[in-house]
């Protein structure tokens, strides 16, 4: 696909479909976030990048044989790895039994917050969320540092701007 605009739009649609699937899988909080972040904010940011760079991608010159082979082998290895995995929706799966699911009931008593996701996010795993917030803070600062300030054009023919 040569048009980057279409590629970005497809990425937004993909995020939105992913969000719908997450809603079906009983994760409304995540679906909510994915719909607003994936389909909303990242699409807008990617479009803004297109406006600052270019809308056309070059026709690839490389032949896709080697990447296809690598992808096929990796995919086959992963599929082989899933053969031992617990089946979809299995209540006996280790992921659903450790920690023991009774903590969901105990949350109601300990924290008085019906939405267990919020309770775990902000209270049980408060440290982790603090870390995530700092990551977002850092990313915001990084973008400001990279893009704030005057736009320096390379003088035509000169190489002075770039660091070695």
């Amino acid at each position: 696909m040569r048009g980057l605009f279409a590629a970005v739009m497809l990425m937004g649609i993909y995020s939105f479909l992913g969000a719908s699937w997450m809603l079906l899988l009983d994760a409304p909080d995540v679906a909510f976030t994915e719909a607003s972040v994936g389909a909303g904010v990242s699409t807008i940011l990617a479009l803004a990048t297109l406006a600052l760079t270019t809308r056309k991608a070059k026709t690839p010159v490389r032949r896709p044989a080697l990447p296809l082979l690598i992808v096929a082998v990796t995919g086959a290895a992963l599929v082989y790895g899933t053969l031992d995995m617990p089946h979809f929706g299995d209540p006996e799966a280790p992921a659903s039994n450790y920690p023991h699911p009774s903590y969901v009931e105990r949350t109601e008593h300990d924290i008085h917050v019906p939405n267990v996701v919020t309770a775990v996010l902000a209270s049980y795993r408060g440290y982790d969320t603090l870390g995530e917030t700092v990551v977002i803070f850092t990313a915001g600062i990084a973008v400001l540092v990279l893009l704030r300030g005057s736009r320096k054009r390379r003088p035509p023919g000169g190489e002075g701007e770039r660091a070695p």
């Binding site: 909510f32 909303g40 924290i111 939405n115 803070f137 973008v143 400001l144």
Partner: protein
């Protein structure tokens, strides 16, 4: 986009509801789906919509870059400050039980509200800042 009357009118009608919905998601996150992360993004989406339709200078008038930068830092400070406050009140870092010793679960509730507010502030401000630097880059 200044000559698209329908877009201007519709987005002006929608904006208050977008922001109100963000606040609802922020403060109702304990009972239904929602919380600081989602609310921050929705709040920022309101500003992005405003910027797309009315231009970046309009957004900068509502939310000056300086203020946005302050809010980015304040959100993290609110979060970490809650942890320090619980330590000062005799608990561990981010142990909200200490906020209300008589009713630990009420303390937990307060703690979650404040912490989510910090998250929401940082996320919203970062998203607005990122959008406006990207949009402002083109004309600088």
């Amino acid at each position: 986009m200044t000559d698209h009357t329908i877009l201007r009118v519709v987005s002006k009608l929608l904006l208050p509801y977008v922001l109100l919905f963000a606040l609802y998601v922020q403060f109702h996150g304990d009972y239904g789906p929602g919380g600081g992360f989602q609310a921050g993004v929705i709040f920022a989406a309101g500003f992005v919509l405003y910027g797309l339709i009315f231009g970046l200078t309009a957004v900068r008038r509502v939310a000056p870059a300086r203020m946005i930068e302050l809010v980015i830092a304040t959100g993290v400070l609110v979060y970490a400050g809650t942890g320090v406050a619980t330590m000062l009140m005799g608990g561990n870092f981010l142990d909200y039980d200490a906020l209300n010793a008589a009713h630990p679960s009420t303390g937990q509730h307060y703690g979650i509200l404040v912490v989510e507010l910090g998250v929401g502030m940082t996320v919203a401000a970062v998203m607005i800042a990122v959008y406006s630097t990207f949009a402002g880059r083109g004309r600088a």
